[in-house]
């Protein structure tokens, strides 16, 4: 009994194994046969595609699985030498029932990691239009087809997953419903930065895509991506697919809220505001143009607690490798500006920025009717984005008017770097500062003055303050000496005011004149000085300067006194100390200059008004030994029996800087002389001096 039972059990197992073996053999045979057939079909398809306009299609192999459908492995579609689509594998599921009717209807299609060249999508459309009519009619799509693509790359820019159902309604309407997931976006100009990371762009989108066959083309009646935070809609038209295919497509990306971007909201950067974007693709497939227009409304950015850029509004256009923005209005730390910019890809992302301060409403040039006041501040930046910072050159102009003159401070920064390390900082290889004073009168193009200074290896940190910003801890090298200081930029009555202080030590004046050949050499020695300045006040400058053990020469005033006294040594004085205290601005300056040498002590106390008018006093004490150089005075001193070690001369100076009027003021020495000299001699001496002074003018 038991034996029988065992035998019966073995028989059953044997039977089952037999059936399984038969089925397996059947399935394997079917798989092999269909795989062979499909490989032939793929080869046919390759031939068909190869017959079309320079396209080629290649697949490593195809295998059939009776339970899943078939898989094409190693797919590569190219035109010329450029790949259009490269996929690791494409799995296609067929409707079994359709096979019984000798038709192969694709029920689902799944792409493995696939790369599509988005810039040549037009080539793909052209291929579909050419190949589809030539394809075997026994292959088609099930009325509702499931599709899926994992790691679908659109060029090098976008990596995404997409899945959904595709249905054909009434033979001409193609409806797609599904999900789209953005995995990564790389902007070519900023490969190391993913601005969208963590934002709603990386949340799944519901996808709606409706396409309608329209004669020789397609009408994209609805393309919609939406998730709880974002909604993008598009529509368009593809025409003349068989002849000269063209596209006209528009997609709106509305209400992109900057607050939702973690990459733009972190410890160092805060962003608020809304961006609207419109993407357009238009033109024939051979010459397809794409354009992304960006509109920024009332956006605010705060960088590193140093710069607050608010109320940003404007429009920009982005193409494949550049972004250009024009007429952006914004405020920088409360100061109103307008800006144009361009960012494009060179060796590194290159930034060109022109920033102009906005003129107050109704501002007009004095004396020129109808002329609009030029911007008070202009910044022109050309720099590369390298290692999370900007490196390049900056030119800036700070313009301020005073009475009938327009003063322009030109600042050029060569080889600058703007970056962040604990603080926002900048350094520059060279800074060249030029102050131009020019009359604003209609026909007067004469430059009243043009004074330039050069600084090297300048470093400063940039900090935000309540209004404006501050260049703090400013350090640099100035003609062999050192510069330290700080500069504040603040808005005053809608204009930019600049104030700050600078301290110079050990500045080599010889080096200054050697590097400024256009400036006449009048002084040598080592200069130390302190300067405070504020462009919003009438007294813009206030400062002091000291020169030790230097030489003063080619000074018109000393030349005049030298000629008058007949003492040539006064034309070039080697001094121990020279001190200057000055204040002023807008053409009005007051200065006190004191010079001390063993033989000369001179004090000039004067005022310059309107840049050219002079009013002051000069007091000079000359040693008697020095006066011996003068033949006349040697005789006079003997004549008046002068026995003091020095003689004091006092002068009043007036009129214009270029044509000074000097009056020898009365003092004890002059009175002695006046009483002793006969009138005839005085007149003669005056005539001689007049003639000498007039000759000086004509020299």
């Amino acid at each position: 009994m038991i034996k029988f039972s065992l035998s019966s059990h073995h028989n059953k197992i044997r039977f089952i194994l037999y059936v399984v073996l038969c089925l397996t053999l059947f399935v394997v045979s079917v798989n092999i046969v269909f795989s062979i057939v499909l490989n032939n079909i793929i080869s046919d398809a390759s031939r068909i595609i190869a017959g079309t306009n320079s396209f080629s299609f290649r697949a490593r192999f195809v295998y059939f699985n009776v339970f899943k459908g078939f898989s094409i492995v190693g797919v590569k579609l190219t035109r010329g030498a450029q790949p259009l689509l490269v996929s690791k594998n494409i799995d296609i599921g067929l409707d079994v029932l359709s096979l019984l009717k000798r038709k192969a209807l694709i029920k689902n299609i799944s792409f493995g990691p696939t790369r599509v060249d988005m810039s040549r999508v037009s080539d793909l459309a052209e291929l579909i239009a050419e190949v589809l009519p030539k394809m075997d009619k026994s292959i088609g799509f099930f009325p509702t087809t499931y599709f899926k693509a994992i790691d679908l790359y659109f060029g090098d820019i976008v990596r995404s997953d997409i899945q959904g159902y595709l249905s054909c309604v009434k033979g001409s309407l193609l409806i797609t419903r599904g999900q789209f997931l953005l995995k990564k976006v790389s902007i070519p100009a900023f490969n190391d930065a993913d601005f969208l990371k963590g934002s709603s762009f990386y949340k799944p989108f519901d996808l709606v895509f409706d396409v309608e066959s329209d004669g020789g083309g397609f009408k994209i009646s609805r393309l919609e991506f939406s998730n709880p935070s974002l909604k993008f809609t598009g529509n368009g038209h593809i025409a003349d697919l068989g002849k000269d295919p063209s596209m006209d497509f528009e997609m709106n990306f509305m209400n992109i809220i900057l607050d939702d971007f973690p990459s733009l909201n972190n410890e160092s950067l805060q962003s608020r505001g809304v961006i609207d974007a419109v993407f357009k693709a238009f033109g024939t497939f051979g010459d397809l143009k794409t354009l992304l227009s960006l509109k920024v409304s009332n956006a605010n950015f705060t960088f590193f607690d140093s710069l607050s850029i608010d109320s940003v509004s404007g429009s920009a256009v982005a193409s494949r490798d550049h972004i250009v923005g024009q007429d952006f209005n914004l405020t920088v730390n409360g100061m109103p500006f307008s800006s144009d910019f361009a960012i494009y890809q060179a060796d590194n992302p290159h930034v060109k920025l022109e920033l102009s301060s906005a003129s107050p409403k109704g501002a007009a040039l004095p004396l020129i009717k109808g002329a609009v006041m030029p911007p008070a501040f202009v910044l022109d930046l050309s720099a590369d984005w390298v290692d999370s910072g900007l490196s390049g050159d900056i030119r800036s102009k700070l313009r301020y008017s005073s009475k009938d003159a327009v003063n322009t401070l030109d600042v050029e920064l060569k080889k600058f770097r703007l970056g962040y390390y604990e603080n926002l900082f900048f350094n520059a290889g060279d800074i060249i500062v030029n102050l131009n004073v020019q009359s604003s009168e209609v026909n007067d193009k004469t430059k009243a003055s043009n004074n330039g200074l050069s600084f090297e290896h300048v470093f400063s940190t940039i900090r935000r303050q309540k209004d404006g910003f501050i260049l703090d801890g400013l350090k640099g090298i100035c003609y062999g000496g050192t510069l330290e200081g700080q500069i504040n930029f603040t808005p005053v009555d809608g204009r930019i005011a600049v104030n700050g202080e600078a301290h110079l030590r050990d500045v080599d004046l010889d080096e200054f004149f050697r590097r400024s050949p256009e400036v006449q050499r009048v002084l040598s020695g080592k200069l130390a000085g302190d300067l405070r300045f504020d462009t919003s006040k009438s007294d813009i400058f206030k400062g002091q300067a000291f020169v030790e053990h230097g030489v003063v020469e080619q000074n018109p005033l000393l030349n005049a006194v030298s000629d008058f006294l007949g003492v040539p040594s006064l034309k070039k004085i080697a001094f121990d100390d020279l001190s200057m205290f000055f204040s002023g601005g807008r053409g009005e300056y007051a200065a006190q200059v004191k010079l001390q040498s063993p033989d000369v002590i001179g004090v000039l106390d004067g005022k310059v008004t309107n840049y050219e008018k002079l009013d002051g006093y000069l007091s000079t004490s000359l040693s008697t030994k020095l006066l011996d150089e003068s033949k006349q005075f040697r005789k006079i001193l003997i004549y008046i029996k002068h026995d003091e070690p020095s003689v004091i001369f006092a002068f009043k100076i007036s009129s214009y800087l270029n044509s000074p009027r000097v009056l020898w003021l009365k003092n004890e020495f002059k009175e002695k002389l006046q009483n002793l000299l006969p009138e005839r001699n005085k007149r003669s001496l005056q005539r001689q001096v007049n003639s000498m002074v007039e000759n000086m003018k004509t020299e």
Partner: protein
């Protein structure tokens, strides 16, 4: 005899233009004007001077006549024609000795008789230019507080004196202060 003839001929040739001028119609008009001024007939003198300027622009009497006409308009408060006449005179005869005084009168008209607020940019530029020119010469006063004066006497017997001080210029007309000017 030959030498004497040569000297006479040379003298004739040298003095002919001047002599010719004095004998011309312009010379007559000029002398008539002087007589009218002496007799107090200023308006008639002016008419003659106008004829000289208008009809004989190359006459050597024209610069003096133009200055006198500018003065006449000035004294009759016809400042428009005064400035016009003085401007033409300055442009036509920039080296004539009266030019500096013509500029001073223009300056006085613009600066004192016209409302300063109503000055246009060109007038403003002109008075600045005149002021700058008057102070364009450097000066070193040693024993006197002013330089010896610049002097001009016009056809109408008005005498002008300009004194340069260290910080101003004083202009006198007929020994009365005409105006004072700072840089």
């Amino acid at each position: 005899m030959k030498i004497r003839l040569g000297v006479i001929t040379l003298g004739f040739l040298l003095f002919f233009p001047f002599g010719c001028a004095t004998l011309t119609e312009t010379g007559d008009l000029y002398r008539e004007s002087l007589q009218d001024i002496r007799d107090g007939r200023i308006d008639f003198a002016t008419l003659n001077l106008q004829s000289i300027v208008k009809d004989n622009p190359r006459s050597p009497y024209v610069p003096t006549a133009m200055f006198a006409l500018g003065e006449y308009y000035f004294d009759n408060s016809d400042y428009f024609n005064s400035i016009k006449m003085f401007s033409d005179y300055i442009h036509s005869y920039p080296k004539h000795k009266g030019v500096i005084f013509a500029k001073l009168i223009i300056y006085k008209i613009i600066a004192e008789f016209k409302n300063e607020e109503a000055l246009g940019p060109q007038e403003d530029a002109l008075i600045k230019e005149i002021r700058k020119e008057l102070f364009s010469q450097p000066l070193f006063l040693v024993f006197y507080d002013k330089k010896s004066p610049r002097l001009y006497r016009s056809l109408f017997h008005n005498s002008y004196l300009v004194y340069d001080y260290v910080d101003k210029i004083k202009v006198f007309r007929n020994d009365k202060i005409f105006f004072e000017l700072s840089p």
